[in-house]
Symmetry: C2
Subunit: 430 residues, 2 copies
């Protein structure tokens, strides 16, 4: 009666899922709506930046050689022949001992090869002519931002798959991207299973709990860069449940179910996968929490069967769903980043399987510190609120002591990581 499941290692599970990557197509959105989207195309410089030699300061453009004899005791005087603001271009060309008043960002006039900051000059007028004097010499090139020094025309600026941050936005604006090619977000469906589940707005009832997983996964999907679609709770009837999953697959790019993947009598998912003709990539992973996590593939679509326990569900999403969303978005480092960290507390439990311990990480004295938070039970929901990392304890290890170095998986790290994490490859055992 009881189905026997063979657990596979985390490393192998992630690799199996990663084989079925899909990538999104392109859509154009206004620049102001593009924050935190992912570029669908490489961005190259279509002009030099700066587009012309310009002044980084307010001051006077001069011919440096005219200032050669200037010193504290010997002011050199220039005639101010023009006065240009940023955005304007002087039509004059500087002759000997001539200067042009110039604003920050303005184009260097012809003949000039240096800019003197306003603070280092003295100005005066005589007979309707403006003059400026300096008391130190300048060299050709002083205070000039040269054309192309920031970016040369044709140079590669941003790779597709780049997440659009405010700094990227500035670059896109500079190159005239009022509209930006970004990857269409995948739609990720969420179906909850579990006869014990109440709606979030329901009053508590004996033996029941509110459906926190769907709300949590909904938020995780947004954070991973996709569009969540909450498809409600599956019914207790197998045929209805099967029909609901079939229908959901038509509306979504990925489908997540929470709960129902265990071996209990009310766990429909294995039978639904079966009836779909789905290929089950695995239905047991040698990890805690989340060992019952199942991933299947049907009609070229990945079905993620996450555990009904909140922390197990969170870990399953982080390991398997998020990287596939990030791959869809063309990110070349789709996995969560990790760092070595110093454990702040003893963690005495042995780890027959790879263990993911909810933790809060922070920087202190040049090191990253990792503190386990709250209870380490997969049913715990309070500790998830504090966690910003999972401490990864390889299978086959004994307890850990405060001060030992561990690996922390950083939940909202932006640098990301390629697979495999070296720590997992090392710990994979047959």
């Amino acid at each position: 009666m009881l189905e026997k499941r063979t657990p596979i290692q985390v490393d192998e599970a992630v690799r199996r899922v990663g084989r079925y990557k899909k990538q999104g197509d392109t859509e154009w959105v206004p620049l102001e709506d593009s924050l935190h989207r992912y570029l669908a195309e490489d961005v190259k410089a279509d002009h030099d930046v700066p587009a012309f030699d310009r002044s980084p300061y307010d001051g006077f453009a001069i011919r440096a050689r005219d200032s050669k004899t200037a010193s504290r005791d010997n002011a050199v005087t220039f005639e101010v022949i023009d006065h240009i603001g940023a955005g304007a271009v002087s039509e004059k060309e500087l002759g000997p001992y001539e200067a042009v008043r110039i604003m920050t960002g303005a184009q260097i006039p012809k003949g000039a090869d240096a800019v003197v900051m306003l603070e280092l000059t003295k100005t005066f007028s005589e007979n309707g002519t403006d003059y400026m004097s300096v008391k130190r010499p300048f060299h050709a090139g002083d205070n000039i931002s040269y054309q192309g020094e920031d970016a040369k025309k044709g140079s590669s600026l941003l790779k597709k798959g780049t997440k659009i941050t405010p700094g990227v936005t500035a670059l896109l604006a500079t190159f005239g991207y009022a509209s930006v090619p970004v990857v269409r977000k995948p739609v990720v469906g969420i179906i909850a299973t579990g006869t014990e589940l109440l709606h979030v707005s329901d009053p508590l009832e004996p033996g029941k709990i509110r459906n926190s997983n769907a709300a949590m996964v909904y938020a995780q999907i947004i954070e991973a860069g996709a569009v969540p679609l909450n498809l409600g709770k599956i019914s207790d009837d197998f045929d209805d449940s099967y029909a609901a999953v079939k229908e959901a697959m038509k509306k979504t790019d990925f489908l997540i179910t929470t709960g129902g993947v265990s071996v209990g009598d009310f766990d429909f998912l294995p039978d639904i996968y079966d009836k779909l003709g789905a290929e089950v990539l695995f239905n047991k992973v040698a990890m805690r929490p989340g060992s019952v996590t199942t991933v299947a593939r049907a009609d070229d679509m990945l079905l993620f069967g996450l555990s009904g326990n909140p922390s197990a569900c969170y870990v399953g999403f982080t390991l398997f769903v998020k990287p596939m969303i990030q791959t869809w978005l063309l990110n070349e480092k789709p996995h969560s980043g990790w760092a070595e960290a110093v454990l702040t507390n003893d963690f005495p439990k042995p780890n027959p399987f790879t263990r993911f311990v909810r933790a809060f990480v922070y920087h202190k004295d040049g090191k990253m510190m990792a503190s386990p938070v709250g209870l380490d039970k997969s049913s715990s929901v309070t500790s998830l609120a504090e966690a910003n990392a999972f401490i990864l304890l390889p299978g086959g290890t004994r307890g850990y002591e405060a001060g030992m170095t561990v690996h922390a998986l950083l939940i909202r790290d932006e640098n990301g990581s390629e697979w495999p994490w070296s720590i997992l490859s090392r710990s994979s055992r047959s």
Copy 2:
């Protein structure tokens, strides 16, 4: 003619701005729209979690003492008297050698004090009665999640000012927050100044540049948790500009201008502050880039005059605007977090003033590494796209060499920091 400005230290500048903190009021939003908002109220547990003793596994609830004699050679057999799914409650009470089939998450039936995982049992039927046998003893409490072990009723779960992450969402769902009290986002206006500015959609013209600052600041405002309001470009006419600023102040909670704060002939902002009767908190900061950053206060409102140079503008936003937005959102650590990091490259320039060097930080071998990116000129826009940190080099220091420890200000760090950063207090000089 030339106005003399006295620079103040970064530390002092941040403190002056921080004196005028304002905090937002409360609005209620649906849970699914609350991601990355900030809680306006403390959240306490209004019930125990778990709300009842429950089973973390599929299996059988038993009286542990009945299994005392069980061993590999001596199976102890229990009669299965009931069968309950998650969400259901058994009305039976266990007697000696009786068991109840129980699902993950289901309430422990009366009389039972342990749960045996399904995998450790053998089941059979005889004469219409179901039996289950075990081959090892269990202890009272084995595999039971006790009422309140995750959170006790009345305990404090989340403080106001907490950023809502997926883990926080799970907790809010558990406690029935279908609607969540969050802090109303402040509206932050952006006015650009500069005769050289083209719209992002405009073709390039001689001497002009596209307005990348407004787009960048727009994105920074969203990332900081506020609502940006792009109010376009100020005109070249003083009276029109003054009227535009006056009008903007009515529609916004904070107002940012980019450019126009220098001492150039087209820099209107100082005169506008003057006509507004604004108190100028400072108009020069001993830092690079961004020394001309100005903050003024008029009609109980902060006016941020950021530099027109992209990197200087970015730094000014990070140091002065973001903390005020985060304070409005009740975050008790409103400043950017920082960490000690190892410099990967020489940085030979001396630092007469506090310098913020755009950098990319990453984790390697238990350390955070900081690599300066691109040009270190305040006009550089390409390097901002790569930067996720600013290396903070205290004023009065000489060049730095690869391998030295520096302080990195983490742009999108979520842990945040209180003021003062110890590094800045140490480096503040009179």
